[in-house]
Amino acid sequence: MATGTIGVRRVAPLLRPSRLDSGVCRSCQETLGRRNYASAAATESTSTSPAPSSSINPAYTINAGVVLSRPPQITRDLEPFEKAFFFYQKRLNERLALPFTKYFYFKRGTPLDEDWKKKIQARQTAARDIGKYNAYADDAWNDELLLGSQESEPEHQVEQLVLDAESTANATSQDTSKKEEIPRPHSRVTEADKKGDQKSLNRLLPRTLYLLVQSKEGYWKFPSSPVQAQETLREAAERTLSQTAGVNMNTWMVGFHPAGHHVHNNFKARVDKATGAETHGEKTFFIKSRIMAGQADLSASAENLKDFKWLSKEEIPQYVSQEYYSNIKNMLADR
């Protein structure tokens, strides 16, 4: 063995913090180590002289924050590849599946049966969302879509289903003077999206929205306030939410544990003149919460807040500082 490695072996135990446990992760080891040093220093100082007031008070303010979110209301938009893939699989299925058993679904001689015959002649297949395609014809190999065709678009497929239902209703109704109208599904893009109204809960339906409030100094953050004495984090979060965004919301706190935290270090330690206690900054622990109904209302806010917005994950970095976003981004849902 080389002499270099032997030398390092002798030096390594001296350099390595030996009393820490190898089963604990590095960041926790550091915290523990620091805490041990601090407590050791504290015990030394108490043995020699009475402890100064700064070591009794916490150096950081502990805040409870609320990540109030509205979950996605509708399915997400499909990627172009997904649309093409799903459509191709549907046509493959049409080629491989047994033919549609018409006699189980349509009684002979009924108006529905007549309507069905007309449609199957035009469409050549039982499926209503794969376009005109006959899987049993000689040219069934021609199952791929051409460039620019609309058949794989979900909007087009929905429109086809609605038109089909409308024509069935018109063909089978007794009253021929009146045209039947099948209600179309609501638009995936709402009024609030078109107007760019970021205070509405009806915007960005396929995404998770988060409530952000603007403090009187002008910076944006999740609602948060200091935890008071004799109060758990969850109670503090509930109080924070009702104090900042009002009681006109039906919300549900997800569990009792914080989902993330943010540490803000002050540039200079702030000294409270009355007690002489120093604060180096604040630590905010965020509790997840879901909104079921209602809307935020800042008029009765105890914290003198200016504004609120419902933002998706992509919009949040435009409003908050880079450091804040790097701390909160991992607890926000991707969608």
Binding site: M1, G4, T5, V8, R9, V11, A12, L15, R16, P17, D21, G23, V24, C25, C28, Q29, T31, L32, P71, P72, T75, R76, L78, E82, F86, Q89, K90, L92, N93, L96, F104, Y105, K107, D139, N142, L146, L147, G148, T208, V254, G255, H257, A259, K288, R290, A333, D334, R335
Partner: protein
Amino acid sequence: MAAREPSRYLARALPRAFAPSARPQAFLGRRNVSDEAPARRLSDQLEDLETSSSLSAPVSDADAKSFDPIARSKARKTQLPRSRYQFRSPKYDRGPLHPHQPPVPSDPSSRLFVPGPFALPRAEQTYNSTVASDILTLCYVHTPPGFKAPVKASRLREWDDSSPYHKNRPLRGPRGGDVLRLLRKPIKFNNIPKIERITIHSYVKNAASDHSGWLHVAGIAVQAISNVRVETFKSKSSVATWSIVPGRDTVAVKAELQGENMYHFLGKLIDVVLPRIKDWPGVKGSSGDSSGNITFGLEPEQVALFPEIEVNYDMYPPKMIPGCHITLHTTAKADKDARLLLSAMGIPFYGKIIH
């Protein structure tokens, strides 16, 4: 902070850099002839690839409009024989040494190919976007750094060596029964409970005493609501009042749903069928097999509420639509977690909740 205490980080980084490696350093420099064989060189393989994607070049509108695959194939004077362009998978497996091997099942030309998926089910998206992360937050248990869980006694009991015959005996089961329950591990990001599969099972008692039509209707109904072929089962037990003889009478149908079918069925059940059942209290809180699978039953008139049966309700013979048992198999190891998952997905529970 790092600028303030450089020595500590340096001290931690140093021993790792100089730590003796388990692998012998001397062998790393060895070269093999095969390394330099021309066929193994990556650059040669890359040269075969085209540098630009065919999708990157824009296609002119005129080209796109004039392209007609049917007309092109008809314009060909001589058609190729089918065997020249259509691969057919061998009908029989003739072993791994035969030159004609079947393609993988995911290949559309394979005889085992099953098309799909056709959509991204809404229930699955809800689970992934909302439910999973909420369960993870709800089930979090905090252990401070350095915490060591107390060592639990082994679940299997040892023999007390009071007899020489105890030597090499397998361990004894737990007291009060030989069943070893599933171990519930703490829920982390990699074992969040999710729905694994759904079983729809229908026991048709009239199938033995009356005629087999009952079984056919039950099978068609279960197939219609599940989009899965059903299996039929013979009775294992004798029921004298229904004149059912074990091993003789086919009395039950079952469909197993997984993946896309399962999520579509779950979505229909939660959003369409269950809300329309009159005076339905929910799933009983004591239901479950204590390893994370919850079962509940639907009456025949409730099964008829499925949209697939409703569209042509008249085609089913009257009063022959079956009831069924629906088992939701989850990856949860305890019923408590399974109920948490299912109630988050929208299935209500009532009565005394048994964990």
